[in-house]
Symmetry: C4
Subunit: 225 residues, 4 copies
Amino acid sequence: MSLTDEIATTVAQLRRTVADLHGELTRNELVIWTAGNVSARVPGRDLMVIKPSGVAYDELSADSMVVTDLHGSLVHGEFAPSSDTAAHAYVYRHMPEVGGVVHTHSTYATAWAARGEPIPCVLTMIADEFGGDIPVGPFALIGDDSIGRGIVETLRSSRSPAVLMRNHGPFTVGRTARDAVKAAVMVEDVARTVHIAHQLGRPPALAADDVDRLYARYQNVYGQQ
Amino acid sequence: MSLTDEIATTVAQLRRTVADLHGELTRNELVIWTAGNVSARVPGRDLMVIKPSGVAYDELSADSMVVTDLHGSLVHGEFAPSSDTAAHAYVYRHMPEVGGVVHTHSTYATAWAARGEPIPCVLTMIADEFGGDIPVGPFALIGDDSIGRGIVETLRSSRSPAVLMRNHGPFTVGRTARDAVKAAVMVEDVARTVHIAHQLGRPPALAADDVDRLYARYQNVYGQQ
Amino acid sequence: MSLTDEIATTVAQLRRTVADLHGELTRNELVIWTAGNVSARVPGRDLMVIKPSGVAYDELSADSMVVTDLHGSLVHGEFAPSSDTAAHAYVYRHMPEVGGVVHTHSTYATAWAARGEPIPCVLTMIADEFGGDIPVGPFALIGDDSIGRGIVETLRSSRSPAVLMRNHGPFTVGRTARDAVKAAVMVEDVARTVHIAHQLGRPPALAADDVDRLYARYQNVYGQQ
Amino acid sequence: MSLTDEIATTVAQLRRTVADLHGELTRNELVIWTAGNVSARVPGRDLMVIKPSGVAYDELSADSMVVTDLHGSLVHGEFAPSSDTAAHAYVYRHMPEVGGVVHTHSTYATAWAARGEPIPCVLTMIADEFGGDIPVGPFALIGDDSIGRGIVETLRSSRSPAVLMRNHGPFTVGRTARDAVKAAVMVEDVARTVHIAHQLGRPPALAADDVDRLYARYQNVYGQQ
């Protein structure tokens, strides 16, 4: 398929953005070797930009990024897409508000996922970003829509942009790929802090209405408007 | 408001200092994404220099720093000030000896804060820098003076330049912004070491008069006079 | 011994590769000081390229790498070979499919080795790369073939490319030296994640047929074909 | 005092060496801010080269290093010597075989020191480098010879080049300053690994004669002869 000029410019920018955002995964120590991936939806098209499969992070470039349709079929690019492409594609098909998806096996979030325990909302930072406990999704094998369906069903019953897939690891979503990366960074950070807090006791949960107030404020007031 | 020449030079230097000190927060792994901030009082004025809200650490520069009055209202700068500005401002209004304030969500200090437990003075380094246990402050919602009041009331009943705000994270103060950053680095370091010590037992506390001797010596003798 | 032209070219390339792969050990924080080593078999010859003994990682270069026969005797190079050379050589003599061997004392894998406990297969990533639990090998003293024999006997009864040698640390193998380094990186990563999961409970093991499916897929489908 | 030409050259080299070795402390994450120091004996003289007090690691240079006598009195240099100078000097006065001393508050070693527990010899790497358990020294206040005496008395009853001073942190010695730094790096590494092993059980200790064999081999055979 050849891309029209207009969409070609958008795709070129997204390839650059998605390639660069993988640098945040390594800088924040969320991934090792090739085990994590970022994608972005091409706005207004049934297309996404995603990492190629099994390529090392320091060999990634805008050119090596892959374009697929929203069923994971290769549309543009020289490499096979990430083995997690089907999960990303399922999310884009079923959550139209989502513009970016990230998957890692970051250590502490994956440890919660291994035990199948949600991360309890015991920190103001969790209330701010996740709006409550960070939920656990089902165990699902790679190879069909099981992982994607597990992600979407879990996220729909929560305000959290992160889901801990059982015995597997975290997936995060965002309005943009950068927002999804931010959620991936923050889910690991709070997974670590709450884990460490739990090693020596049980911190009290925040009251539900305090969580609501913090979440509302952070989503609406924080940052540059 | 336009700044007079004299104060303009001081403010320009403080913008540079405060911007650079954020680099110590990342270098010492006390913060992720945009979740931490440093401020400095403008000496002799009811003004402070603080980080802008929601701006990434590697995009910070002297120019992007913000000047507010000591009620948190913007006086100079192109960005909205940190969402924690009210807490910093409250500290400057009520603790005239304080010239710098730092807030992070550093992992181990925040874990102690989540459980609401003070860090016990079981290391000579804690006696040196903190003069005793590192105290816990109350849970307080963002949005008014609650956080600032909790910080000030807790610090006043202690020699510690650090307070662990419940379910939130540490705030530190210092004669200068650099001193407050040093306290932020050291509170995380001792929070981590004591946490790890506690995982396999309970270290004995230092005797009170040994704490006093160590504190007096470190505050008066250490470093270049 | 002087090397023929053809083999000299191959050896020169392998010296470069093996020297560079030590950089992955430090980048992934698997080693400190001089305590870890990578080797590669010279294809079709009874030779291997390995790290010199006791040389700091940032002083390693292609030129400082050592060539030995498969009994560990020096064939080419200015330095004494790694003190673990006998173990590497034993593996190459008895596992003809192995082209690379790595030894580290990486923290979490060594902690499992110290307790003599296999790492249970509780993560999809473990099923993918290791095909089941990561096994423990016997305690063996350095100085003869004991370590090599322990590695080979343990690996032969497992699909895992990694073995945790009791009270010592992990050894990994691969079709190439790069594959063995990847296994060294991943064994530490999963050792850490499963350790952390176990600190607060016991994650359920994956079902044996799910492990088989994940392993088959990852070995055959993952990456660029 | 002005130094003779011959000794001046030696001292200049040692200033460079000692300054550079502080870079190993930061690279190996053994120290924060200014809380750790390296010294070297000036061979054949009652002099030592040591870090200045309270100076940041990235501001250290050969020129900022300080020369003192073996009672800690300043002989040469523009800064006040490290507040730990008396302890270093005591070691040099009483252990003529020691050419270098290092002190840190590295996290895991300090955690063992806080509990007053020796690190048990459960790893071949501990037998190699430390020749048995890593011993605990007494609690001692800074300000006189107490710390130095505690270090020397503890090290004399052990083969270990490291001692864990109670409620304080590790001190290490070596034939050279570089050897003492190596011991500081390794004591933290094994303190961490054994701590992590202990979190989920108790690893068996090595047999005493295996420890002896490993220690003898490592001290005599390892490295380039």
